[in-house]
Symmetry: C2
């Protein structure tokens, strides 16, 4: 569909809506909105708007819809699939001024927030009241909670507590035509018409712009223990995961990383934080599991920790570290959360986010390494393996630009084919955006894509909202 240009007249109308200080046309300032954390992608928008109210967003959308201007909504810019990049130029609507926590309702265990709140700020505000918002993406210190909803972010606690969508009760959304709706009600159960709330979650800003979010909250678990389990082989680490769950233990975190991820990240953290890492990672190991258990009862936690260790010891396992001080736990989590930045600092990467049924992980990880050999790339694997969700960072290193854009792309296609053949799919928590869009036909049939396009058309007949994403 041909889009219109952003004319000087239109800029004037935008200034009337949001105020001139919130209309960014300066190219240098606009550049900040041209990229996220996906490879080296960059697309310069014609103009960036920073609305402050739902009504302003509504008026922007009405105007853009009328004039067929492409609109790309943007959160914290930490996405790994390029979903917030203005590939058709036009208008970026940055939600940075929607940064207020409107209410934390302790009686109903609910919170109402604007989408531009930093995830960690929200987590801490809730924690200060003895409550718990479990979704915890690695980018929590800079990502926006609205982006978490749009991409359906996860993080390490999803294995016990679910992903972002499991906490979304209700959304205020500005539709592409400027209409404002609430998708549901502030209730724990709802069978009143189609589930628009869940349809919005993970729709990557293509169906509407989220302007308010009602989350459900939980009570804060008071205690946790953390185990670092070193395994001689990747495949055995993966097998141990399935067995730990079969033993009836429900960890609140079950993270996996290869030795190379640990080593690169230790170096990176020592540099960034200017502090020596004190945890020792046993050598001659392929991979480590970081297993967290949480709850309110020391005895139950210790009993479960023992069950985890008993399962692990049925495999070729190194010395298990039981992290019992807060400092040691913090250090281990810091290493885990810095894997992605550390790997990116080492080399340009293509970051994949595949997910399979848990028991199929051993075949997945072995297959990925074989594909790497065949197509000539190294990869660093880590992720939330309790969920079956593996992050595969394919390293550019000294691969030529040409191969990076052709042969390696094909190799990644093979990873996705393997994933789907194992009952899995393309993305567990990062979304599709533009980075994984070319691979969608591996995961779903034309009939699925046709249904999705039909839904998109129902919301956005002119296709102005976040065009060119997902499918």
């Amino acid at each position: 569909m041909p889009f219109a240009e952003v004319s000087t007249d239109i800029i004037g109308l935008f200034e009337e809506i949001v105020g001139a200080e919130h209309v960014i046309v300066d190219p240098e300032k606009r550049y900040n909105y041209s990229h996220d954390e996906t490879e080296d992608y960059s697309f310069l928008p014609d103009v960036v708007l920073r609305p402050g109210t739902t009504d302003e967003v509504s008026r922007i959308m009405r105007l853009c819809n009328e004039h067929s201007l492409p609109v790309t909504p943007r959160g914290g810019g930490t996405g790994l699939a390029g979903a917030a990049l203005p590939i058709e130029k036009g208008v970026v609507v940055s939600m940075e001024r929607f940064d207020k926590i409107l209410e934390i309702d302790e009686l109903n265990l609910q919170a109402t927030v604007e989408p531009g709140v930093i995830t960690e700020v929200f987590q801490n505000a809730v924690k200060a009241k003895g409550l718990f918002y479990p979704p915890d993406p690695a980018s929590r210190g800079t990502c926006f909670i609205g982006g978490n909803v749009s991409q359906n972010s996860g993080g390490p606690k999803a294995v016990k507590y679910g992903v972002t969508r499991d906490y979304v009760l209700n959304l205020e959304v500005v539709l592409p035509n400027g209409e404002v709706i609430w998708t549901g009600a502030n209730v724990l159960k709802n069978s009143t018409g189609y589930n628009l709330t869940q349809l919005m979650c993970g729709s990557e800003g293509t169906l509407g712009i989220i302007t308010r979010i009602v989350f459900k909250l939980r009570g804060l678990p008071q205690k946790s223990v953390l185990l670092l389990l070193p395994f001689v082989t990747n495949a055995e680490a993966c097998r141990a995961i399935a067995e730990i769950f079969r033993a009836g233990v429900q960890p609140s975190g079950m993270e996996f990383f290869e030795r190379e991820a640990a080593m690169k990240t230790i170096d990176y953290c020592e540099k960034i934080y200017a502090a020596k890492v004190t945890t020792s990672f046993p050598e001659n190991m392929d991979a480590y599991l970081l297993c967290e258990l949480d709850g309110n009862d020391d005895e139950v936690l210790m009993r479960d920790a023992e069950r985890v260790m008993n399962v692990a010891e049925q495999f070729q396992v190194g010395e298990i570290l039981f992290a019992d001080t807060a400092a040691q736990k913090d250090e281990l989590w810091k290493i885990r959360k810095n894997i992605s930045p550390a790997v990116n600092a080492y080399s340009l990467t293509k970051s994949e986010d595949v997910v399979v049924p848990r028991a199929n992980l051993p075949r997945l990880i072995v297959g990925i390494k074989e594909i790497g050999k065949q197509y000539g790339f190294n990869s660093v694997c880590f992720g939330h393996l309790g969920d079956g969700n593996l992050h595969v960072n394919v390293l550019k290193e000294n691969i030529s630009d040409e191969d990076w854009h052709t042969k390696i792309v094909d190799g990644i296609g093979e990873i996705f084919k393997l994933t789907v053949s194992l009952g899995g799919t393309l993305s567990g928590e990062h979304g599709i955006g533009i980075a994984k869009k070319p691979y969608m036909s591996i995961a779903m049939r034309e009939a699925n894509l046709a249904v999705m396009r039909g839904i998109k058309l129902a919301f956005d007949p002119k296709g102005i909202l976040n065009p060119g994403k997902i499918f």
Copy 2:
């Protein structure tokens, strides 16, 4: 949209697809498919088909779509909103032959089932392997699991474990045009395109016919305790619920029923099961809470039970019954689960299913009784109040037919207005169907309904699938 008639030629084509023995034209046999458990509604279909395979469903849909024949999919016929009633006549597609549990995957904690499996049969099959499928509608002995998905059923365990949709990972669906899709993948996390799985859950058979379901399962809790807490007033029982959650306890059941519900149900159960009810329900009480705690650790359960009792004792409470034998627990649950049939045996009812934020329950229940006085009806209230989900059975008793269809309908409208003013909505777990459709504009704006209609159109351009439901 004008629908075509089911001609003799069409019947012949149906016979080719499913076999003559599965094409029901005999009026008496068809009558069985004309009603569910919603009031005294009855709509006779022209023909009932009983396909046995996805391919047969696909061919039926293709034929009906081509010929503009209305199709109403049907599960166990236990619905309380009339969602499975063929109000436009035409074709009923009964899923009764889709009655196989295809796989219980113990390693991945998943199960694949056909939609015509009785919910209780599935629960028991899973339990036999030490696993747990928590959704537990009161009709579990006769309802179909596919109907549970279509209506997003709940039940008492939802307060801790979530509703049906929280267990659905992936669905095989026949679209109105006969195309067959899988909505997602068999994985715990999925950010790969729009969430068609969640869109199907609760869509009441209007978007497609579900032919296979992949559920996630949990480990089976080994122990439970059950408390019966009698309260002097309804409102105090409701207030106690919010306080129990604030005290950090997470019950696996938090059911509420008025004294009248208990008394009617005891009589009913003694008659039906021909056995005296031994539990005594303290007199001079307005309402009772049935609070279940489950887990694997006796000490933790006893400590939580004490916390529940301590909270309750801050209110005007009668003697608390601690049910410690299996027989006593069974009896209490039997009474709870028979409330709806008992009330229906006493009088024709309109059964409502409102849901509000938990802390607003006291105002809701007081308001409902005031509306009853004003409009001249009695009501029996019970339900899953831990979720804020209250069932309100409005009794016809000796109300005239005319008032029943006019004044009482208006009174129920007032209940819904009150519910929405308290941040709630029309249905927590029964769905909208035809029974609550006239009230949809109380819960949502025209823009919401327009979006839903747009989605419907994307799936079903001719509007042949379950026409006239929801909106």
